[in-house]
Symmetry: C2
Subunit: 523 residues, 2 copies
Amino acid sequence: MILTGKMLIGQQAIAGDREAVRAINPATDTPMEPAYHGGNRAHVEQACALAWAAFDSYRETSLAIRASFLEAIADAIEALGDELTDRAVAETGLPHARIQGERGRTCGQLRTFARTVRAGEWLDVRVDTAQPQRQPLPRADLRQRHIALGPVAVFGASNFPLAFSVAGGDTASALAAGCPVIVKAHGAHPGTSEMVGRAVAQAVKHCGLPEGVFSLLYGSGRDVGIALVTDPRIKAVGFTGSRSGGLALAQAAQARPEPIPVYAEMSSINPAYLFPAALQARAEGLALGFVTSLTQGAGQFCTNPGLVVAIAGTALDRFISTASELLPRCAAQTMLTPGIFNAYETGVAELTRHANVAAQGMAPEGPNRGRAHLFITQADAFLNNPALQAEVFGAASLVVVCANDDEVRQVSEHLEGQLTATLHLDEADLTRAKALLPVLERKAGRLLVNGWPTGVEVCDAMVHGGPFPATSDSRSTSVGTAAILRFLRPVCYQDFPDTLLPDALQHGNPQLLRRLLNGQREA
Amino acid sequence: MILTGKMLIGQQAIAGDREAVRAINPATDTPMEPAYHGGNRAHVEQACALAWAAFDSYRETSLAIRASFLEAIADAIEALGDELTDRAVAETGLPHARIQGERGRTCGQLRTFARTVRAGEWLDVRVDTAQPQRQPLPRADLRQRHIALGPVAVFGASNFPLAFSVAGGDTASALAAGCPVIVKAHGAHPGTSEMVGRAVAQAVKHCGLPEGVFSLLYGSGRDVGIALVTDPRIKAVGFTGSRSGGLALAQAAQARPEPIPVYAEMSSINPAYLFPAALQARAEGLALGFVTSLTQGAGQFCTNPGLVVAIAGTALDRFISTASELLPRCAAQTMLTPGIFNAYETGVAELTRHANVAAQGMAPEGPNRGRAHLFITQADAFLNNPALQAEVFGAASLVVVCANDDEVRQVSEHLEGQLTATLHLDEADLTRAKALLPVLERKAGRLLVNGWPTGVEVCDAMVHGGPFPATSDSRSTSVGTAAILRFLRPVCYQDFPDTLLPDALQHGNPQLLRRLLNGQREA
């Protein structure tokens, strides 16, 4: 595929006229062709007009057609072959195997949402039939289903150029819900974005859908991003990125004449608790697992274990000393962009001012290589210094040494909202863990036992979300099939004749949905 | 019951020390004893501390205990007998029969949520079991349930002193979800609020629950209201009232260090469409139904039909002339408060400046009597004058006369978000109605055929919600069992030993929930 540097507004490839970005190969610090000129307000206007024009018909496509569309996107992405993965590797500095895995995840995710669409549980159909004889007043026939919110603006993430970008989780779940999507590509991987965007546009055409179902824009967050979020035709926003970026979008969305929901996944340091018996039994193994999780993908995961909490003692000393032996053997890894690398260096320098350095990874060879860092601090310092709780995006982590269970609890209560919390425990730790659990449930969207948080399964039960500032909306998940629920709203139909009812609500139940019928769930 | 004029902070009755309000009997314009002094910041602090202390244990009460608690509240309200209804009648000017009906609705609502709690579908349990052999990576055991968001602040509504006030829909659904509730009583019915509040506190005690599960505060929105919404321990807000009041709370909630969801039900004029064939066949009957719905309860329903849309012609003339004959026979009715009466008068005066008066109700005899009003305007005037779309709370309605289907569509697209939209139609109108339906689905939470919107059934399929400004969150309903979903968030448990899992997620499924197990819904 020859990259054009153009945006996709519906089926049209259109060149922007604002400042250009080029991808930078972070491994070599060299810019890559072509240039991607940013769009202007007229381009945003055009994409929103098309999305709006497509909305009413797209949201009422049959479940079968919408599912086939999602599958067609997956097929089209796979058909891009090595060209896609080569470009993504060059633009992100991520290893080939990781990018190939991510492509599998991305296409699997689209197909999972296709199955979810077909099953139709997300429609949450509820039927209360008429009771004309009821006293003192008859009951009307009432039927509820969910419909799509409207066109959705999706902001691609830097750290998942496929799985959380142009055709990633936000796009897949919004399209599944029946929402047209306008993606603002992340400037770090514009070529990957163009390839995937063209695959989506091709699937739109292949399935005979209105072209406004999908557009792909380039440009700055301030220009194109805010213009998108404040356009009256955009009805929800999906975002994965920094806290400041997410908050800016949330504020813009709230300041609209009609405020809209923003699903921003922003900031998490993912505390891992090492309970005494587990630590005593396997401090060295825990250290190995920890260092592996910490340094995976240069630590550039939202769920990276950035905090370790444990009670002081020889077992914790063994954990720290083993981790401190392992870390210097870890090569510095290319980070996603020069900007992310610089932010990491700044964050590490800040932690160095406030905590003790326990160990460092190998010294970097080449540009934008993030060197892993392990820091140590005491509970009272952590409790009194907000700087120690700031997310440092990359392979940096902080061990908080607590004197006793009470300090562990205080540290936990002091934490901001998190995507995950991890508990390493043995049988003898269960009572302690049980006592801490209510705090962790209040703090995090996913709790893990004896694992590491960096793997995020795409499945029904996943929660990739959590209280603020992990996300802007703790009631939702951005990974897994429940992500579709973010883009829906309920509508009730009272005393409608069958011919006017949507299929999902008709008396004959032609879609064979498992409805809640007069309070009973149908088999 | 001797009213004390005191707040309830947990089980303690405490007198406020700020400016006092007394209820005013609007029928006679006379103040009623006792005085209710407003609380100060320390009272808010105390109620929030108790609610927070109660949260972790209350949210994990068994489904059976929580359901019994809701039923105990209903029983305690019924045990208040005529004293409650007499006081509510005196404080609101609403007729006895209406208040008795509302008590039935309120208690029925509590019992409906008890059934919902027991059924447990709101937990949305999803289980994906481990796949240790999966390639390339094993899958962990992942289990999701929903937990309560945290303590909820509820603002009582003026127009439903029972069903949307101290133990109304917001309180019932938040308690059902496992959230402690702090109610700020509406100043218009403080005595009713005290009685119901004491019934709730009695049920808390009877069920052996922590006292912080429920508190009742008095005071101004600026003082107590904003202090509640900005307290870090409050995690969600339920509100029914004016647009300005709802927006102020939403803004305060968004400006917090940790923003929280606000469910504000605010403003709706509930368009009713009279399609040509139906209008031709039964203009007079429609006019009777319309006037009945318009004037019910002095028009003080969120779902009052404040807008009628139809195409010009002799059939519409018949509708208008019949309504104009009926309206002068409708007595002016006591409105809820002098403030609401004054706002109604102002709104009517404003409409009088911008539209033609078709008819008026009987002249008022006595204070605070709202006189029904019917106005007429043309579509182009409506499209160009935002004043014609402002909600006038009370028995005022505006007929928008359209030249043709296109103007009907333009008027519809021009509408702000609504709680309801009503379609009066016959067989011959189906094509027209079908064409308009996508617009109405985008505009309203509930669509009705051949009825009037003022009845709102408490059931599974009800949606009392809708796009902004009908509510601040179109993804939710404040009436019906789905209202519980507003106060929940998902939490995922990965690789947890059974003993550490909450009951709902344990391998043996002890609560016999219908889980989503490996993608299949259990029978």
